[in-house]
Structures are given as C-alpha cells and as structure tokens.
C-alpha cells in the first residue's frame, strides 16, 4: 500500500497563492502552531502571539510570491517573519510591560493541562518546573532567547536559524552557547538545575 503524497510547502504555497483554500488551510495548519509558540515563548503574552500569528500569515498571503524556496525553508522564513513581528510588537508594548511577572492563572488552561495523570504531585512539580523554565527563557536578552527558542524549542538547524535571524551560523552557535550558560545560571538560581556547577570543577585533561 502506497502512502498518499504529502504536498511540499512550496507546492502548497503556490496553490494557496493561486486561490486554493484547501492549500491555505493545509499550510496554515502545518505552521500556525510553530509561529504561535515561537511568539509566545519570545513574548510570554498570548495576545502578542495571536497578533504575530495573524500578521505573519497575512504577510504570507500578501507577499508570498517573494518567498524563495531555494534560499530558506518555509519554516525558517516564517520564523524570521515571526521574529521581526515579535520584536516590533514588543518594542511597541515596552512602555506597558507588567512589573509583576505574568501569572498563568488568568489564562484559560488547555484541556490537556487539566487532565492529571497517575501522579498528581509529580504533574504539579513538572508544571511548576516548566513554568520556571519558561520564565527563565523570557528573562534572557532577546538575542539569546531567540536562538534558544528556534534551535531548542522549535528544533531548527543552526543553518535554518541563521536564515531566520539573518545572521551567520557561527553567530547562532556562539549565541546558543552563551544563552545556555545564562539560562543554566538562572535555573540554578531558581533551584531547578541539579546538575553540578562545571565552573568549580577542575579539568586536568
């Protein structure tokens, strides 16, 4: 039995630009989560993530013909567009940033989060740990945060991340190193990381 052919991003985009609604919904369904989560991890605000998702796909509708499949994957292209939108919106919203860290209590929890497994205490601890990780990521400077979100959360390759961020691969690598070091420090400060501090150990190799 042969698998049904999955259309490539480029094919879907072509069809979408030609007015094929099914192609649009397929392409949107494929990448809406990626764009939304990227914006959410970058901004920590659902409203910004919504707006970014909206703007990124509206831009794709308007300027999709500018996308060159030979230059970057659509994933990287959309992440690049989302990054620009996030930075733009966060710059606008800067005067209104909350002094108190945003709580998740006011947000509607996804159904998956409401269903507890066999270990409610463990689930609670994991959720708390994840919340602290997200906060620590949000506290990073944007240039480190964006490479961590792209490479570690969205699992883009260094080359794809470099295209999305419009910088050399070496820069991605060095920012990722630096970002991880900063993040580890923050997590240790939050009492989360139990890994031994590499700085205090001596290496004789």
């Amino acid at each position: 039995m042969t698998k049904p052919m999955v259309p490539s991003d480029a094919e879907l985009l072509r069809s979408m630009l030609a007015g094929d609604e099914r192609a649009f919904t397929s392409l949107y369904g494929r990448y809406k989560g990626l764009v939304y989560r990227f914006a959410l991890l970058m901004s920590g605000q659902g409203s910004i993530a919504e707006e970014v998702t909206q703007e990124v796909f509206l831009a794709l509708l308007r300027n999709g013909r500018r996308y060159d499949p030979g230059r970057a994957s659509l994933k990287a292209y959309l992440c690049g567009a989302a990054r620009n939108q996030v930075l733009l919106l966060m710059k606008k919203e800067r005067p209104y940033v909350q002094l108190v860290e945003e709580s998740d209590e006011g947000r509607e929890a996804p159904v998956a989060q409401l269903i507890s497994g066999d270990d409610p205490l463990g689930d609670c601890a994991r959720n708390e740990a994840n919340r602290l990780v997200r906060q620590a990521v949000l506290a990073l400077p944007a240039r480190y945060r964006e490479v961590i979100v792209l490479c570690d959360f969205q699992e883009l390759s260094y080359a794809e991340a470099a295209l999305a961020l419009d910088c050399p691969v070496g820069t991605v690598n060095s920012r990722l190193h630096r970002g991880h070091a900063l993040l580890s420090k923050k997590l240790r400060a939050a009492g989360l990381d139990s890994a031994p501090d590499a700085q205090v150990m001596r290496c004789f190799a």
């Binding site: 609604e21 996804p110 990780v133 961590i148 570690d152």
Partner: protein
C-alpha cells in the same frame, strides 16, 4: 582532544547532532577522562531535557479559533478581490476602448459645433464683404480690384502659415500628398494670436457647411452652400479652434 576543543562540541554532542563520527567518539572519550567536561555534557543534556519538556507541554498550544477564522476570511477576501480585479481589468480594457471611441466621437462633435459657432459668430461683422465676394468671387491668392480684404487676409494667412508649427504643416502636406487632396492655406480664426506660442496643436478633419468658405474670404456658390465641405481645424490645447483650411 582537550577541554577547549570539547567545549566547541558540547552543544552538538548534547543534541546528538554531531555529524562527524570521529569527533563524536573523541568527545565522548574525553568525557571519560575529564570530570569537568563530563559534567558539562550532563549539564547541557539536563538543560535540553528541560527545554524539550517545555516544548512537549506547549505542543498543543495553538492560536485560538478566532485567529483561524480571521485569516480564513482574509484569504477569501483576497481571493475574491484578486478575481474581481482580473475581471475589472478585462472589463476595464473594453471599457477604456469604448469610452475612448465615445470620447473621440464627442470631441469631433464638439469641434464641429465650435467651428460652426465661431464662423457664425463672425458672420454678422463680415456680412457686407461676403455679399461683395459672393457677387464677384475672387480666387484664392488672386486678389482682384474689389478684394482688398481678401488680399490683406491672404497676407495675414501667409504670415500665420509661416508661424504654424512645422509638425502641423508637415502633417498637412503628407496627408495631401498621400490622399491627393487639394487644400487651401490655414486661415486664422482668432485675430492677433501667435500660434507658435502654443504648446501643442492638433489638426482635426471636420465637415462644415459650404457657406463656411465665405467666412474666410473664399469663393463659394450660394446654391451649393448647404452642401458640406471638408476642412482641417487646428485646435489649441484648450480645445478651441485656432485656424482652418479647406480640403477638396
């Protein structure tokens, strides 16, 4: 491999994304002899595990349905707008063509009316001369004893013809050669106006009553006056007639 080299590979090792098997093996061997680098690798792996746990938790987070609906509506609107713009473009071409033809016809009618009005307007002041010329018609460029005004007018006409832009004269002569037409000189319709000072002029072929010949001092047969004659009217940029010549 030393610790410095290992540090360059630490992230890739933790992510299992190191493509070079030799480098990977050397790095892992180094961690067996170096506690610091082993701890470093463990730390990276722990960090990645935490980040991936968050990524897994967030996997279900997607934009709310209102964003989906809004984008779908935007897509449909854009598709509809593109389709209608194509239709409008196609219709627009046809529309432009028909409106162009309409404008041309309308312009022709306006010019005809304008020329007739100008000629009729000057009829009152020149009526006696016309009567004289009608009694004793004088051929063009052949002034007779009673034809002083026509002589003077011819002189004016000659001067004006010199002043006419070359474009008009060339156009007229080419046309007359091509179609073997007999044309008169251009007669100015507005006294004291230098045609060379005008930016652009147009020559338009019209049909006028035969009596129009008399308005510029040319002989005409009163019996055949109702019959139309062909004429080239020079129009200024403002659409007003500036000069006229007759064509046979």
């Amino acid at each position: 491999m030393n610790c410095h080299d290992f540090e360059k590979l630490a992230l890739a090792l933790a992510r299992n994304s190191l493509l070079d098997a030799t480098e990977r093996d050397q790095g892992l061997i180094h961690t067996e002899v170096c506690n610091r680098c082993a701890a470093r690798l463990a730390q990276e792996r722990a960090l990645l595990a935490r980040l991936r746990a968050v990524a897994v938790e967030m996997a279900g987070e997607e934009p709310p349905a209102r964003v989906d609906a809004l984008l779908l509506a935007a897509f449909r609107a854009q598709t509809a707008a593109t389709a209608s713009s194509v239709v409008i473009t196609a219709q627009g071409r046809a529309g432009r063509w028909s409106s162009w033809k309409f404008a041309a016809v309308a312009a022709g009618i306006l010019i005809l009316i304008s020329a007739i009005a100008i000629i009729w307007k000057s009829t009152g002041s020149r009526m006696p001369q016309r009567e004289e010329r009608a009694v004793a018609p004088t051929p063009v460029n052949t002034p007779g004893p009673q034809a002083e005004p026509p002589v003077g007018r011819d002189q004016v006409v000659d001067e004006r013809q010199k002043n006419l832009p070359k474009r008009i004269l060339r156009h007229a002569s080419v046309k007359s050669q091509d179609e073997a037409e007999v044309v008169t000189q251009f007669f100015p319709l507005r006294e004291g106006e230098d045609l060379t000072t005008l930016d652009s002029l147009q020559v338009v072929r019209v049909e006028l009553p035969g009596s129009a010949l008399g308005e510029v001092g040319l002989p005409f047969d009163p019996e055949t006056a109702p019959e139309s004659v062909k004429a080239d009217v020079v129009l200024g940029q403002d659409g007003l007639a500036r000069a006229i010549r007759f064509v046979r």
